[in-house]
Symmetry: C2
Subunit: 346 residues, 2 copies
DNA sequence: TATTAGCACTCAATATAAATGAGTGCTAAT
DNA sequence: ATTAGCACTCATTTATATTGAGTGCTAATA
């Protein structure tokens, strides 16, 4: 959809109006507007311009004798005309620092610290769609005896994360036996992503030339360890923040929000749709095509491992969100996350 | 503090009033009260009794011409006179089933599923103070090479949980070397709780008779792996639920609540204080001696490993909480958790 | 003596009416 | 094109009844 070109003055007034509304949350009226910004045009002129902008669909009036508020299209214009400045990021030291993440070997903690940080800095709610577990590339497998017939499967991923699974087997095996299994599995499966292991590698190995006797049981164990859903997990943080925003609390928007939190699937779907987008994506109001999140906006960006998009991070807030700060925040964080995953996977 | 004995009729009226207020949240007036419960006494008599109960401190009036609401003391009387019935627990299949927990080897997930369940069933907020990490008894230690000079320390606890730590060392060691270290560490440290290992066992081993050359580096590694805070972690779930309760949302109680969620320390302290209590503890309103949580009540219970109290679970809600359901819920869940931990640690 | 009908009184909550003020659109003059 | 001026609109605020569920007290009743 092509955007109409607005004359300079109209454009800057529109931008200013949207900006003002984002800050104050109150409809912007002509008189107080020119006064506040000491403009050199009269309220009447402003009114005329506002009228034009309303006809064009950028502004609307909540009721006849009120000031103007931006439509979704108005926000869109504002966001598009935003020359994103990363200045304020320098002042923020609460940002994710890559080296802080590096110490962590538990995926869940990495994810939650990223969302926590997004919500803390933005003062809205931070979300993260984790990479599909199936894309994880296995680097090393170690089997350890736990109990009579329980085996602990320790899998080290290419990104340096460690995943544990408990597997119950019928046969009993010695510790030395398991040690051999581990070597076998590591040598055969190292470098493969989980989905390949599940769908082809195991079958290939099974039907291959009759190998050592260890083969079948070892494969049984890893097969069990890799069972489980391939759903990418969704992390949310900072819902409390949204409750500090008046227009969120009002009406039934609150309960609609709580529903979303409870059934994360809706959000998951929305985020999954955006995964192939490059750069920061702002979804304003109804652009998020889901009536349950009407009145909300999302700023998202897909992070990568290497040059493949594997997941999405983002911030959810009211339509009246401080895009000027959130956009660079999401962009910056996304880069950090991409770098982190990419470096780790080398 | 000894409780005054109330005559049968007074007592049952008080109980009924508190009950009614818990359900409706509205001050209970004499006329509608007798009507609603088709009592055989007149409103006037009820008023007299209410007056007495007010003098005794069980009830109060929000304003002169309103009905009565319970004081903290009134709630206390109600809770004390509660003959806890576990009937409804049978109908709840959303409760934690021990066998569901048994499949899990990640402590964090066990904890969060317990709190999630507490909040889901109670419709309030579920909390859990996890056992101090230092009390964990080590059953088995395994060292695996990760990278050049990074070692993955896998610790299996007596309760069957698995804890991973990454340790960076200066020396380089072979895989076989690590294997020997593992054996050494397991044989020396198995059966000791972490705090003993930290405070005495390591020292003792170090100063013992000069052992194999592996000793010192092995001890270095485990020492690094065991560094870290001994703070018991706090898990919270279902804050959303509290936002559905009118009196929580009103005034600044909401923000006070959000603060608590943000700095978990306050709650931690409160819960830690209760850890040596046996059975279910109800803290009503100001009995939680912290002005930040005024207007809230907590129902808690300490769970055990063997016969030692190691942590606390509980439910946080408004003073006007449905104690009749929450008390058995917390009690029951606590038993399940105790049994679970105890069985696992055998 | 314990209970209750009756009555005057209170006061939050609700409904109704008036006043305010920030906003608009339109027109005519600059 | 811009703007001063003016009549008009309407959410918000303020002021003013009205209502109704509640109380306490007193005197009659069982």
């Amino acid at each position: 959809m092509k955007e109409k070109i607005l004359p300079e003055r109209e454009s800057s007034i529109l931008t200013a109006i949207v900006h003002d509304y984002i800050i104050t949350g109150k409809p912007v009226g002509s008189r107080s507007f020119v006064q506040k910004y000491s403009l050199s045009i009269s309220p009447a002129t402003t009114r005329n311009i506002m009228y034009d902008l309303e006809i064009l669909g950028y502004l609307m009036q909540p009721h006849t004798s009120a000031g103007r508020i931006p439509t979704d299209m108005g926000y869109r214009f504002y966001v598009n005309s935003l020359l994103v400045s990363y200045d304020f990021m320098r002042k923020q030291d609460a940002t994710v620092r890559e080296d802080a993440l590096k110490k962590e070997i538990q995926l869940e903690k990495v994810y939650s610290s990223i969302t926590k940080m997004l919500s803390t800095v933005s003062k809205y709610s931070g979300v993260m769609l984790a990479p599909r577990p199936d894309f994880t590339v296995i680097k090393r497998i170690e089997l350890l005896p736990l109990d009579n017939n329980e085996v602990l499967v320790v899998m080290v991923t290419r990104t340096g994360m460690v995943v544990n699974k408990k597997v119950v087997i019928s046969a009993t095996v010695t510790q030395d036996g398991l040690h051999d299994y581990s070597k076998y599995l590591t040598s055969e499966l190292c470098g493969y992503p989980i989905f390949e292991i599940r769908h082809s590698v195991i079958d290939r190995l099974r039907s291959g030339k009759p190998a050592a006797s260890i083969r079948d049981l070892a494969l049984d164990i890893i097969q069990l360890a890799l069972t489980g859903s391939d759903e990418p997990e969704l992390y949310i943080d900072g819902i409390e923040n949204l409750l500090r925003i008046p227009e969120m609390v009002e009406e039934k928007r609150l309960s609609s929000l709580l529903n979303i939190i409870e059934e994360k699937n809706i959000l998951k779907e929305i985020l999954e749709k955006t995964i192939d987008t490059e750069g920061v994506l702002t979804l304003i109001g109804d652009e998020v095509e889901n009536e349950k999140v009407s009145g909300c906006s999302m700023v998202t960006s897909s992070y990568k491992i290497g040059n493949k998009n594997v997941g999405v991070i983002g911030v959810i807030g009211p339509t009246r969100m401080d895009y000027e700060k959130v956009v660079p925040l999401v962009d910056y964080t996304c880069n950090v996350v991409s770098d982190y995953f990419t470096k780790m996977s080398k």
